[in-house]
Every structure is written in C-alpha cells, then in structure tokens.
C-alpha cells in the first residue's frame, strides 16, 4: 500500500526559517534510510503558506485567496509518498523520523486510495466504462 506522510507546519516553518544543519543532516540520513529500504517513492518540502494560494469554491463561483493562512498547525510543510506493507509499518517508520520542527510537531499518515478500496465494481473508471457499454448496447438496438 501507499501512504502519504504529511509533515505539519509550525511557527518557524511558516516564517520561512530553514532547518539548521544538524536537522538537515539527520533528515538527509533518514531519507537515505527510507530509500535504502525501498520505502520512499517521492517526497518534497513546501514553501511557507505565505507563498501559496487557495481557490475557494462556492457553487460556480471561484475566489482566490493569497497566503499566508492562519491555522498554522493544520498547514503542511512537506510530504512523502511511501510504499509500505501496512499502516503499522508506516507508523514504525514515522517514529524513526527526526523531530521535524524541533520541540512540538506532528506528522500525519494517510493511506492512498487503491483500486481495491473501491470494491471491484465501483471504481469511477469502471462505472464509466459500464455506462459507456450500456449506452453502446442501447444505441445498437
């Protein structure tokens, strides 16, 4: 299974303070360990939300809101995409991660949807295919 591992932002990451050399080294080693274990698929760090934007939807209306955004703890500072065998394995790997923000921080793990999670007959793709087939059959009659 794949999981997305989300590193939450904090005051410093939102202020654009870059991690110190010690943390960078530790993170580098940790990333290397993930690659060597065949776990790491992808990963990136994100700029603070002050450089980001949001598009708000309301019916047909779209409103663009420029960053920064207030709810710091809910913001994301970086992410990984991992290939693991179970949520438990993902948790074990996250526990080995150096504390990404220093004192208080949080990392969230979310399993990525896979075809099986939809059940065999209910992927949007398949539903669409079935509808197409039905339409074709109807047209043929």
């Amino acid at each position: 299974m794949r999981v997305m591992v989300l590193v939450k932002a904090d005051k410093d990451s939102e202020a654009g303070v870059l991690p110190d050399e010690k943390l960078l080294t530790e993170m580098g080693n940790y990333n290397e360990e993930l690659v060597k274990a065949g776990v790491m698929l992808a990963g990136e760090g994100l700029h603070p939300s002050s450089k980001g934007a949001r598009v708000k939807f309301s019916g047909e209306k779209r409103t663009v809101i420029d960053g920064p955004f207030a709810e710091t703890k809910e913001l994301i500072a970086g992410f990984w995409l991992w290939q693991v065998k179970s949520m438990e394995e993902a948790i074990e790997w996250v526990k080995r991660c150096p504390n990404p923000m220093g004192v208080e921080s949080e990392i969230e793990i979310r399993p990525v949807f896979e075809a099986d999670d939809f059940g065999p007959a209910f992927t949007p793709e398949l539903r669409e295919q079935e509808e197409r087939l039905r339409a074709q059959t109807a047209a043929g009659k």
Binding site: K36, G38, S86, E89, A121, E125, Q129
Partner: protein, 419 residues
Amino acid sequence: MISDAKRTIEAVWGIESARLIAALTRFTGDLSLAEDLAQDALVAALEQWPESGVPRNPGAWLMTAAKHRAIDLYRRSLRLQRKHQQLGYQAEAQQEQDWREFEARPDDEVGDDLLRLIFMTCHPVLSTEARVALTLRMLGGLTTEEIARAFLAPAATIAQRIVRAKRSLAEAHVPFEVPGAAERADRLASVLEVIYLIFNEGYSASAGEDWIRPGLCEEALRLGRILAELAPQEAEVHGLAALMELQASRLRARLGPSGEPILLMDQNRARWDRLLIRRGLAALERAERLGGALGPYALQAAIAASHARARTPEETDWARIAALYDALAQLAPSPVVELNRAVALAMAFGAAVGLERIDALTSEPSLTDYPHLPAARGDLLFKLGRYEEARAEFERAASFSLNARQRQQLLERAAACQR
C-alpha cells in the same frame, strides 16, 4: 490491545528481519542458525513488548536479544564439548568482544551484509524455486504461509523447500560474501533473475484464476529498489528496477471491469501511474549514465520506456522498439524476443512484414504450446482481413493458455472473427 501490539511487532519485524538475519549470518556463518536466532528474538519481542511497549530502537533490541541467545547456545555447545573451563571462558570472552565490534560497525557494512545475503539466497546451487522462496523469506521477511499463498502452493511444500535450500547452502559451503570479479556477472544475473521472476509471477500469473497478484509485484519492486542502493554501480540492477517500475506503472490499466486483461495498446493511458513512470525513466537514466552497452534488463526497460513516453498508442515509436528488440535478440536470443520483434516490425512496417517473421517461428519447438505465438499470428491475420485463419489461431492460442481469464479473452477474439 494485544493484537495491536502484535501487528506493530510484525511491522518492526518486516523492517528489521532481513538486516537481522544478514548480520547474524555474517557472525555465525550459518544462515539456518541465523534465522533461528532472529526468530528467537522475535519470540522474545512478542512476549515482552506487549507489556513493556516497543523499545525506542527496536532493531537494536532485537539484535541484542538474538545475541544473548547466540551466546547462550555457544556456551551450551562448549559445555557439551566438555571443553576445559578456562578455554570455555576465553571463548566466551572472545565471543562477547566479537559482538561488540560487530555491533559498532558503520551502516554501509550493514548494507554489505544485505548484499551478501541476497547473493547467498540466490546462489546457483539452488533450484530457481528454492532461490525464490528463500529470498522472499530472508530478504522479504515473508512468512512461509505468505509465500505459499502467493505461489498457490501448500505451506508444507514451501516450508520443505526452504529447509532443503538452507541445507543445500550449508552442504555446498556457500560462503557469505559478495562474489569476486570473476563470477560477479553470473551471480548478479542469478539475483536479478530471481527478483524478476517474483515480479512476473505477480504481473502475469502463469496459473490460477487471477491475472495479477499485486502483492508479489510490490515485493519484487521493493527488492529491486533495495538492490539498486546496495549495488549502485551495476547498470543492470538499475535496468531491472526501471523495467519493473515501468511495467508496474501499467498495473492499474491492465484489468477490465470483470478482471479480464487489457492489452497494452488498448489500455487507458490516463490510468498509467505517472509516479512509477517517472521513477522508471529515472532508473533507466541511471543505468545509461553508468556507460557501456545496455544489458538485457535495461534494453527491456528502454522498450517499456518507449511505450511509457507515448501519450497515445499512435505516438508509439515502433521502429525504435523494433531496433531495441534487435539489440536484445543479439544479447539474449530467444524465440520469445523474436516474436516480440516481429510484432514491433508489424506495427512499424505493416502486418504483412510481421506475419512473415512470425511464420518463420511457427516451427520453433520451444514455442509449440506458447499461447502468445498463435495469438499474435491471429492478430496479424485479422488485420490482414484473413478472418477464418485468424479464428483458428485464436482458438489454438486459447487451448494452450493456462490462465482462465486469458483463455476466455482469446475465445472472445476467435468469436469476433466470425463474419
């Protein structure tokens, strides 16, 4: 709570077991003993962790537990040998000293141990089946039951296969080492073969009801990715990684609504996994950057990459693919490669050109009951409007197929030839 703890321990085991077994094999020189020691450590963890919680460094904990167990065994065997007290004590002290040095080793040596271990479990003294089972068990951390389920074999058969494999390695005195330059290429080929076999068993199940078993593909991919970091200077290691990433990128698009296979040219390319394609192309680039002529895995990866780069089937560079098959046929000549080359030529230069090549293969003894030959021939005949001959070929292909879904699909193609 107990079952939570058990799942956590299993996860830790999945992460640590290969390194544990590798290190213990290096220390004891005996794979079988190493595995027993590692298992004992797991049992100790299952007893203690649910109470005490998972230790902060579970890998080190397991290693220490295995070490205590090893020293125990060692002491007991010394006593059994009725050695002098003094000698026994010295040997123990030496053993403890060895362990301390052994534990203080830097990480890249741990990597070397894993590499030694995979060369051992893929050793040519073992049958292919034994290599596959032993590698999944020792490197993949799979249980006997998991391996049995993946290969649709009784667990007892797999257990026996693993026991025999370990015995064969011991009897042949297979050393725990990375082979030297003289035999390195052959030994590496054996490792790559085992990993690709596991992948293929998952990607194109040769028997049974299911067309693909993604668990095996994932396991092989993981082994391939690990190997790419253990032996980064070997171009073919990256070639294999690239090939598997690119093929796996199509897994989601390979099955239709009722589980029937969808052929490459008919797949919805929007469903191809862009992340795996990117990883595959990057791995292929790594192989190419190492210089020299591409090996058979890198060539196959280059072929898969040609497909991956085409946004629509019409964009496929068939002439390039035919040329890559040409190169592959020179390195690793086989009727199957010839068949694929014929199909590529048909796509590049017309069905008649391909059919001529395929006709030359029909007398090939190794292809007499290979379903893809009549299936490909049927396809070209169909394109040339020779429907009656095409139908016969699809039916013949169906009669050779061991896979229920593939057989059904071939029969449907045969039926479509009736006009």
